[in-house]
């Protein structure tokens, strides 16, 4: 008789996992088949041995070791969070302090800015290669001329785009 077909059902039967409707057929087969009787007794024996081994008491030292490791890890984590909390609190306090001080210091800066000197300033664009006549006017962007006294020579300071080049134009009152 081919007993391979019975193997799975006998294995389930050994652990009480077979559907009640199927159990009588397995019992009938096992009663007639010596090989399957050996299989069933072998299954029951190995399952019993495994259960015995599993029921062995676990040394308290192992349990205590796991507990200690877990609690120490959690305490370390709590300390880290506590320290991190302090860092955040300090950062927030520093920001609040900075915001409280900021408006006063910005006013002070505004007061201490010196007034712009009154100078005759003329800005001349940097010398460029020849371009079409329409674009080549060389008109200074900004010319401010201030004569301090009409009788004295007129000094015109021309600032170019190049900070190293400053042109002073000294002329008499007639512009010669």
């Amino acid at each position: 008789m081919n007993c391979n077909a019975w193997e799975e059902r006998i294995a389930l039967y050994a652990g009480g996992d077979l559907a009640p409707a199927e159990a009588p057929a397995v019992e009938r087969h096992v009663a007639e088949c010596a090989g399957c009787q050996l299989l069933l007794s072998g299954l029951r024996e190995s399952m019993g041995l495994l259960r015995e081994a599993h029921a062995d008491p676990v040394e308290e030292a192992h349990l205590a070791a796991v507990r200690a490791r877990v609690l120490s890890e959690l305490e370390r984590g709590a300390n880290r969070r506590w320290r991190l909390g302090w860092v955040y609190a300090m950062a927030v306090a520093a920001m609040v302090l900075l915001m409280a001080v900021w408006p006063r210091s910005s006013k002070r800066v505004a007061v201490t800015v010196p007034p712009a000197p009154v100078v005759a300033v003329a800005q001349v664009p940097r010398a460029e290669p020849l371009l079409p006549a329409v674009r080549h006017r060389h008109r200074p962007r900004k010319v401010v001329v201030k004569a301090e006294k009409p009788a004295e020579p007129l000094v015109v300071k021309l600032l170019t785009d190049d900070p190293n080049v400053i042109i002073y134009w000294i002329t008499d009152s007639k512009g010669e």
Partner: protein, 195 residues
Amino acid sequence: MALALLAMAKAVEGPDARARAIAAARASDLAAFETVMRQYERMVLVTALRLVGNMEDAKDVSQEVFLRLYRNLGKVEAESNLQAWLYRVTVNICYDLGRKRRPSVPMEDVPDPVATGDDPQQSATGAERRRVVQMSLRTLSAKERAALVLRDLEGLSTEEVARVLGSSEATVRSQISKARVKMRDFVERYFRRRV
């Protein structure tokens, strides 16, 4: 000391007491968490031991299970079955460890038994036979081993095992029957080699 442990164990008996302990643990009460841990530590450690096969790895697995429990106390509080949650996490961590270490031992690697008498089955001491049966667990696939350990050793029903493993009951039945037959075959072959 024993009385204190007993008192602590009693403190978390019943769903209400356990819920209170978990709520306290969520509020960073480590003593409350230790109380919860004490109730389940043996279950987690021995399950891990059968799944990974050695105590050092089992302790690492247990540690990771309880750290995950602490991090997920909110979810666990909502889930009524803490035990099933712990089994599921234990099995998953053991799977991860198994993928890294490949613990299965081929039959050829199993050490030869020491001959002590004429009938090997009879003469083998109880301790040795238990050791061989435990060794047979390592010849199973990870899923077969998990199904067998949860059903035959932890005493869960096939329905509960299926829920923990995220499989169907039919799959679990098939895994359990194959695992039982493989385990029995291993023991038979082991002792036959002694003759």
